[in-house]
């Protein structure tokens, strides 16, 4: 029966990000959320467990205030979580996150399948999964939208620019999943209550005995404004006329 590990990230909800008048990014009012496609990763881990048995462990690397994220992840079905946290783990880059995950997973967790989201909602670098596979020295199948296990082999359908490929690989294996692989459940009150009773293994930087160097130099962040001055129209016949007239006047359509 497979031991399944799913990785997730607790991220700033980009819907709350509004550029300030100075063109800087203002995170003061930001809310946090479980990164969108990591919900698919967790759901897929739980779905595989429902079919093949085994266990599901959720793992995150985060700053110490991400405890809400642990609860959110556990309410979606995994039976325990590894919370690798430190105040220094703010804005880690993909090479650091994957190296930290690799060290903890290699040393402490039994795994046959590791599932990551295709990319996080905040950075969307799409690197942590493939890098983690390399650090663990296991096969990587990225951008998967269908997954099954047959005879100790993983069978994955993955998207390519040309169409799709079905891949078979021996376990242990890492896959990154696309949003259309499943419909993540919405946890209910019972799930949330159950989540607070599940074991959480806390790991801090000093337990890791390794250095994770920053290689990417952040040279600044600026708001990418896409705001325009909208002229609003209602739904009445006169509005439709005026709307079409306004578009015609810009000269962007050839006919009429």
């Amino acid at each position: 029966m497979p031991n399944i590990v799913c990785c997730f990230k607790w991220v700033v909800d980009e819907a709350y990000i509004k550029p300030s008048s100075s063109g800087k990014i203002d995170l003061e009012w930001a809310e946090y959320k479980l990164s969108d496609y990591d919900r698919n990763a967790i759901e897929e881990a739980v779905r595989l467990q429902e079919i093949y048995g085994g266990g599901v462990t959720a793992v995150t690397v985060a700053s110490s205030d991400a405890t809400k994220g642990i609860k959110d992840a556990l309410s979606r079905g995994p039976e325990k979580a590894y919370f690798i946290n430190d105040d220094q783990f703010e804005n880690l880059e993909p090479s650091q996150t994957s190296a930290i995950l690799a060290q903890v997973i290699a040393d402490q967790i039994d795994y046959d399948v590791i599932i990551c989201g295709e990319g996080s909602s905040d950075m969307y670098s799409q690197q942590v999964g493939p890098r983690l596979a390399e650090k663990l020295g296991i096969p990587c199948i990225a951008f998967v939208n269908q997954l099954s296990i047959e005879d100790k082999q993983i069978i994955a359908e993955r998207k390519t620019d040309e169409g799709m490929e079905v891949i078979s690989a021996p376990m242990p294996v890492l896959v990154t999943v696309l949003p259309d692989i499943n419909n993540p459940r919405v946890p209910g009150l019972k799930d949330t209550l159950a989540a607070s009773k599940k074991p959480v293994i806390n790991i801090e930087l000093e337990d890791l005995a390794s250095e994770y160097k920053r290689l990417l130099i952040d040279k600044g962040l600026k708001a990418a404004s896409i705001e325009r001055n909208c002229t609003h129209f209602g739904a009445g016949p006169e509005d439709i006329k005026a709307f079409v007239e306004a578009i015609r006047k810009t000269g962007v359509i050839d006919r009429g």
């Binding site: 890098r131 390399e134 169409g163 690989a169 990154t176 990418a224 896409i226 909208c230 609003h232 709307f243």
Partner: protein
């Protein structure tokens, strides 16, 4: 050692990266190396288009995925120690880039939108963050400086006669244990939204697949291509991903964009940032798309779109 390296798993993008790489190699006064699978004719073509050196991969076995080149590419790069290694941001390229970077213990700027060489000869790169609401500038403190480059960011390199270069054939990659047991091409989509002058975009405001006919009819009247949001292509599969606009899909630059039942989340909007006129029909007056639109109608698309078709026909 020095040099600029490029790799793309598709020829169109090899040509685009040759343009990008040639520019960087010239400003650094170094040579441009292209990695590609193919034969000597391919290699000569790449040399004519700007490569100084071509490293040729021998063909893979039928059931070998292209990712089996990863260990070889990392070993060659470790040996040659180039300054810069650019990889096309195709789905395969993004995965391969991350894995090569992990093997080389270096950083990678994913889907880099601009590149410049600063006065110390270092790459300065920009990329989108927070779904596209912010642009981050980064540089890399390790070697090689790696980046993945989105499609169509550079013009394809043209053939210049009389260019000279060297070709080296690499050894056959070892099988990794991963096997391709089936491949399927994708359904052909009708038009090309990247080149369209007018785009009508369908969003999740549509209740069922048949309702796309309404959007198609409007597009027909406008001489427009039909595009869609990610939920329409990836969740509902009503249209192909070729038609999808946004952060994880295509960027478009039409003179006119008209969104029908599109909420206007940032990940979609980044794909239409360069559109001339942005228009939207949405029943929710607080839909975010109105903040980024030039003209908006608040109303039920099932009433508005037929009325628009009539009015545009006049």
């Amino acid at each position: 050692m020095s040099g600029v390296w490029i790799y793309a798993d598709k020829y169109e993008q090899v040509f685009e990266l040759l343009t990008a790489g040639r520019g960087l190699a010239d400003s650094l006064g170094t040579k441009l190396t292209a990695l590609v699978s193919g034969d000597n004719d391919t290699a000569q073509d790449l040399i004519a288009r700007g490569a100084d050196e071509v490293l040729l991969f021998p063909p893979l076995a039928e059931d070998q995925p292209v990712q089996d080149y990863v260990p070889l590419m990392a070993d060659e790069a470790r040996e040659a120690d180039p300054d810069i290694f650019l990889i096309a941001a195709s789905l395969k390229g993004k995965e391969m880039g991350a894995r090569i970077a992990a093997r080389l213990d270096t950083a990678l700027c994913s889907e880099c939108i601009t590149m410049n060489i600063d006065d110390k000869g270092k790459l300065q790169m920009e990329r989108l963050m927070y779904g596209g609401s912010a642009i981050q500038t980064v540089s890399i403190n390790s070697r090689p400086q790696m980046a993945t480059i989105p499609p169509r960011a550079y013009e394809p390199a043209q053939v210049i006669d009389s260019r000279q270069g060297s070709v080296r054939t690499l050894k056959k990659p070892e099988p990794s244990g991963m096997k391709v047991i089936d491949r399927k091409g994708k359904a052909q989509s009708s038009g090309d939204i990247s080149a369209a002058r007018v785009i009508v975009c369908a969003g999740r405001g549509l209740e069922k697949q048949e309702d796309l006919d309404l959007v198609r009819e409007l597009a027909g009247v406008l001489g427009a291509e039909v595009a869609c949001t990610r939920p329409i292509s990836e969740e509902k599969h009503w249209m192909t991903e070729e038609s999808c606009i946004g952060l994880s899909a295509k960027e478009v630059k039409p003179a006119l964009y008209l969104g029908i039942g599109v909420s206007g989340q940032i990940q979609h909007l980044v794909g239409i940032r360069e559109a001339g006129i942005i228009c939207a029909v949405n029943s929710d007056e607080n839909a975010p798309i109105f903040e980024s639109a030039d003209y908006g109608i608040t109303g039920d698309l099932y009433k508005i779109v037929p009325a628009l078709i009539e009015e545009f026909k006049k």
